[in-house]
């Protein structure tokens, strides 16, 4: 067993890093942080994983194709929120219409939560995509494998 | 009879439809040539209709569309334009007959493209003739340049490419580099580019001063088709084209479009009075005079017949520019008449040159000694044409010279009269010497035939003339040269409105 200490440490730290990412993600309204930082931290957990167990192992957990879908979904989460507010009768990204007439700006809270989630997902998946491509030139995929 | 108002758009479209018909009839040459001739006949009828209407004092016209505010594409027939259109369309018809003979005799390639380009070019020439403002004139001027490019480079070899480059280069460079800025400048000063009786710029007092001189210079050199030296090199270079092209375009349509534009600009944009008052045209008058003499001198040294004719054209075109720059009514009249007279005369000469080439494949004057005896009809026509160009009565060419001298006297420029006389003498030397040598001198290489006088002068049994379609047209125009001499009075009266009379 090579690098046993590193592997154990990574295994121990992996979950707390993810948890911290989620904290930063959802605590953005109250303290420093938000989707950008959370996304990075989330990606860092997997990068750490790749460092210790090899890129192939990480790719098994989180395949490239899934990351691309996540990139799309994250961006669409954000843009979709905007489109949804338009469909609900407001302007683009006018979150107030999500919960109309709310006294405590619930619409704004939901809106911010949704778009920050979109930011987090996109940032995390994009960073990992870039990392995957930098670190492991992926083998040529055949036409059929898509 | 079609109304003159309708005749103008028709005159523009008929050649284009003819062009389409020629394209569609690519496969059957006889039908194709028939299409050309029918188009020519219809066009001639239309221009004559307009000519008659204009002679009765009408000014038919129409506006196609307005491109930018104050910048419409519009047409209006006035005496000068109507005259130019009749000359161009009439001679196109003649030239088409000639082309058929020439092109078939020479087995030239790409004949369909040749006739199509011709049709577009004549449409452009008609557009120039009837243009109601500078902008319209400019558009058709450029179309004329571009549509004749395939004709000039018809042969497609390196020489033709080089000639075509110079042709297009000089014409486009002068028109875009000088003519267009001049138009824009006029537009900025006056807010319009319309041809106005009495002169558009004359109505704008602020236009006086050095601007008039600069503008006139831009127009004079910007209209490269007028071949005022030093904007002339395109013309000799265009001689790489087949002879029908030289005959029609570079004796009639293209070059006359240039000098026509200059006359029109002097009369309708500046106004004769404005030029007279400011004296702005005097320098250009001298440049034109210099151009006349210099081009004649160059022509004398050309052994290639077409080159000699080309330089002669440069010289003769400057007569018209000179007439315009004299800034007198008689000068303008002389210039306008020269358009008609020179067109007939020079076209005759070019067609004869083509006939000689078809029959004997000779292009050098030195090789043509004694040739008159086997081609008496061709050289006869050549002789008449040359007489007209020189300005000897009873040929049409004598009238413009007469009016130009009158104009020069009016303007008090006696030196110009001297220039005209000298030029005529030089013309005698370099043009009349050709038929004289052809008839009276022995062929250089053979020397067998004795030089006799009288009966056995022409060996009727050994005639070797070009095909009939190559001979008849120059004889026809040669006859026209004589006829025009006697019908000059109606032409004079037709043109009178141009100089404020009638």
């Amino acid at each position: 067993m090579e690098h046993a200490i590193l592997r154990v440490t990574t295994k121990i730290f992996f979950a707390p890093i993810i948890l911290y990412a989620l904290y930063v993600q959802f605590h953005g309204d109250y303290g420093p942080g938000g989707g950008f930082q959370a996304g990075i931290i989330f990606a860092v957990a997997f990068i750490l994983h790749a460092f210790c167990f090899g890129l192939e192992e990480t790719k098994k957990a989180l395949p490239q194709r899934a990351l691309i879908v996540a990139m799309v979904v994250g961006l669409l989460f954000y843009a979709g929120t905007g489109v949804a507010t338009m469909l609900l009768g407001g302007n683009l990204l006018a979150y107030d219409v999500i919960v109309p007439g709310s006294a405590h700006n619930a619409g704004q809270h939901y809106g911010i939560l949704l778009v920050e989630w979109g930011v987090g997902v996109t940032v995390a998946s994009t960073m990992l995509t870039i990392f995957y491509h930098f670190t492991g030139r992926e083998p040529d995929i055949d036409q059929e494998d898509w | 009879m079609i109304s003159p108002g309708l005749a103008i758009p028709l005159a523009l479209w008929v050649p284009l439809l003819g062009c389409l018909a020629i394209w569609l009839l690519d496969k059957s040459p006889n039908l194709r040539e028939a299409a050309t001739l029918i188009t020519g006949a219809i066009l001639f009828a239309l221009t004559v209709t307009i000519f008659i209407a204009v002679s009765t004092g009408q000014r038919p016209g129409f506006q196609a569309l307005e491109v930018i505010d104050g910048l419409p594409i519009a047409f209006q027939a006035e005496p000068l334009g109507a005259l130019f259109a009749v000359i161009a369309s009439g001679l196109w018809l003649v030239n088409s007959v000639y082309s058929i003979g020439y092109m078939r005799a020479g087995n030239e390639k790409h004949q369909t493209r040749f006739y199509m380009s011709f049709a577009v070019a004549i449409s452009a020439a008609i557009g120039v003739a009837y243009a109601a403002n500078l902008f319209t004139l400019f558009i058709f001027y450029e179309v004329l340049t571009l549509s004749t490019f395939p004709l000039v480079t018809h042969k497609g070899d390196e020489k033709a490419r080089r000639g075509g480059r110079i042709y297009l280069g000089v014409l486009m460079a002068t028109s875009i580099g000088l003519f267009l800025p001049a138009i824009v400048w006029t537009y900025v000063i006056t807010g319009s580019t319309d041809f106005v009786e009495g002169g558009l710029l004359a109505q704008h007092v602020e236009a006086a001063g050095p601007i008039v001189g600069i503008l006139l210079g831009l127009y004079a050199f910007g209209i490269g088709k007028a071949a005022l030296m030093p904007a002339h090199p395109w013309l000799p270079n265009a001689m790489v084209a087949p002879t029908p092209v030289s005959a029609f375009l570079h004796a009639v349509a293209v070059v006359k479009a240039g000098v026509f534009a200059i006359l029109k600009i002097v009369v309708y944009i500046f106004g004769i009075d404005l030029l007279k008052d400011t004296g702005a045209s005097i320098p250009f008058m001298w440049i034109a005079a210099g151009s006349i003499l210099l081009a004649s001198a160059i022509a004398m040294n050309q052994d290639n017949l077409k080159a000699r004719l080309a330089y002669s054209t440069v010289s003769q075109l400057s007569y018209i520019t000179l007439g315009a720059m004299l800034a007198t009514s008689m000068g303008v009249m002389g210039g306008a008449m020269q358009i008609a007279a020179h067109a007939l005369g020079k076209m005759t000469l070019f067609m004869c040159a083509g006939a000689i080439y078809v029959a004997h494949h000779k292009t050098l004057i030195s090789e043509m000694r004694g040739l008159g005896r086997v081609m008496p009809f061709t050289f006869g026509a050549f002789f008449l044409g040359a007489m007209s160009i020189v300005g000897l009565p009873p040929m049409a060419g004598s009238w413009p010279k007469f009016f130009l001298m009158l104009g020069a006297a009016d303007a008090g420029q006696l030196a110009i009269i001297a220039v005209l006389i000298v030029s005529s003498i030089v013309n005698v030397v370099y043009l009349l010497s050709i038929p004289v040598q052809a008839f009276y001198m022995n062929p250089a290489e053979e020397g067998a035939k004795p030089q006799g006088a009288g009966g056995a002068f022409i060996d009727w049994g050994a005639l070797k003339e070009a095909p009939i379609l190559c001979i008849a047209p120059p004889m026809f125009t040669a006859a026209g040269v004589i006829a025009l001499f006697f019908f000059i009075d109606p032409l004079y009266r037709f043109l009178l409105p141009l100089i404020g009379g009638g």
Binding site: L87 | V67, I68
Partner: protein, 500 residues
């Protein structure tokens, strides 16, 4: 949803949402069809927007319902409505055109991402044009630039030099963007606002070093993006080695949008109250415009690569636009705006014609054009007609541009400039003439790599001829381009506080 109310945001949000969706589509034709459909839709809403602005005047749309300067504002007047229609229109044509060309020049496994990047680029350009917020301009400028870098690098499959070209552009573009954002930062420091109209109000009467430096940084930053001579060094290689469809798209749109941004800052943000704006016109834009016109045209003359020749020609044409706006008159500004539109039409068509040649011969060297009039007549005539337009022959849009520019030059008392303009078009005549002569008068090669050329497929010819037809149509009818540009120029001039 009230469509009329939401119309102003649609030209950006449609391609923005559509771009990521492209990645979910199966390989093959689907991404191309999707991108084309979206580009047409974008074009349609842009046209509707032009009509709306024409009727209702300036439209202001508050993103997130936050009134400016608190939130971001979309502010659409005639000037940017026209550029929006232009960008999306070129997009619609080029996207439709692209399929066969891209199929040949880009690996099929990349085509999904390629069309995604094209849509992103469209989004970015539209976003820059439409917005009324300085920082928003920066963000969308980055979107378009970043995608353009990648798209240019895609030419590497045909020629590895595309990578260097993209890298050079990336460095220059990043410097430009940084300068721009520094400028905006300085202006924010001086005013506390990012909204363009608000900036104009709050800058009025201010004259301090932050504003001066901010102005300088913005002009240089945008100058890099629009390839203002002598900041153009990235452009020739980028246009030459990019995939043909990309060249056609960015040559017709990217620099035009940057010129528009420059106009917006000169006229709508700073205005003539600032002496340095006048100085910049007289001592920077005018001489650089003239120099660019000449030097770039002369360089174009000696290029044996047709794409590179057209690229240098673009630098020269940008000189015309700068010249027009430096006159600081309604006529000059109109000329500049009209030329933005018209040059896009002609350069788009020219690059598409070259793309057709590349498609059949695999080369954009001038040798590949020999005798093409016989092998590819339709393409040849498209090239020649658009070339005539570039020269400025009457009845083409090029002539309209030149007419406006010349009248502006004379009216502004810069008569000498008029002659320099026409002299530069004469150089254009020579370099276009070289290619035209090659196509028309040379014999097609009977052997070698170019011998097998035949006419390009219909899917390429039709979009290309749409643009060629536009070159003619707008050269004859100017009520859609010229008249609207005059209105746009008058409105801009009013805000700028120009006397004439």
């Amino acid at each position: 949803m009230n469509l009329a109310e939401q119309l102003p945001v649609l030209p950006v949000i449609i391609p923005l949402v559509a771009a990521p969706i492209t990645l979910l589509l199966p390989q093959g034709r689907a991404p191309h069809l999707w991108a084309t459909l979206i580009s047409w839709l974008t074009f349609a809403v842009s046209i509707a927007l032009v009509a709306m602005v024409s009727d209702a005047g300036v439209i202001s749309y508050h993103l997130g319902d936050w009134a400016p300067p608190l939130g971001i504002e979309y502010r659409i007047d005639m000037a940017n409505a026209l550029v929006l229609a232009l960008v999306s229109g070129i997009g619609a044509v080029v996207f439709a055109f692209a399929y066969r060309s891209v199929e040949r020049e880009v690996d099929p496994r990349q085509s999904t991402f390629f069309y995604c990047a094209m849509l992103i680029c469209l989004t970015g350009l539209m976003g820059v044009t439409i917005t009324g917020d300085a920082f928003n301009i920066f963000v969308f400028l980055e979107i378009s630039s970043l995608s353009t870098y990648a798209l240019i690098a895609m030419g590497a499959k045909s020629d590895r030099r595309a990578l260097t070209a993209a890298f050079n552009y990336l460095v220059m573009g990043t410097i430009g963007a940084t300068f721009f954002v520094i400028g905006i930062g300085l202006l924010y420091q001086a005013t506390g606002t990012l909204n363009l109209a608000d900036l104009h109000d709050r800058l009025a009467g201010q004259s301090n070093r932050m504003v001066e430096a901010g102005f300088a940084f913005i002009v240089v930053g945008i100058g890099l993006k629009l390839a203002m001579f002598p900041l153009h060094l990235w452009l020739p290689n980028a246009y030459t080695y990019a995939p043909s469809a990309v060249s056609a798209f960015i040559a017709a749109t990217a620099t035009k949008v940057a010129v528009y941004v420059l106009i917006r800052f000169f006229y709508s943000v700073f205005g003539f109250d600032f002496a340095f704006v006048g100085h910049a016109f007289t001592y920077v834009l005018l001489p650089l415009g003239l120099a660019g016109m000449f030097i770039a045209s002369l360089v174009a003359l000696f290029q044996d690569d047709v794409k590179r020749m057209l690229a240098y020609s673009s630098v020269a044409q940008i000189g015309y636009m700068l010249l027009g706006l430096s006159f600081a008159t309604v006529e000059g500004l109109t000329a500049s705006l009209v030329h933005i539109l018209n040059h896009a039409l002609m350069k788009g068509a020219l690059f598409m014609a070259v793309a057709c040649v590349v498609f059949r011969t695999g080369s954009h060297s001038i040798q590949a054009f020999a005798g093409l009039a016989k092998r590819m007549p339709v393409t040849t005539w498209a090239f020649i007609l658009s070339g005539l337009s570039l020269i400025g022959v009457p009845l083409t849009v090029g002539f309209i541009s030149k007419w406006y520019l010349l009248t502006a030059a004379f009216a502004a008392g810069h008569g000498y400039a008029a002659f320099l303009i026409v002299a530069s078009s004469l150089i254009a005549m020579v370099y276009i003439g070289r290619v035209a002569e090659m196509m028309l008068l040379r014999e097609p090669p009977s052997e070698g790599p170019y011998a097998a050329a035949k006419e390009a497929p219909m899917s390429m010819l039709i979009p290309m001829w749409v643009l060629v037809a536009a070159n003619i149509y707008f050269g004859v009818r100017t009520d859609l381009t010229g008249d609207l540009a005059v209105r746009a120029a008058e409105a801009l001039m009013l805000v700028a506080g120009g006397a004439p």
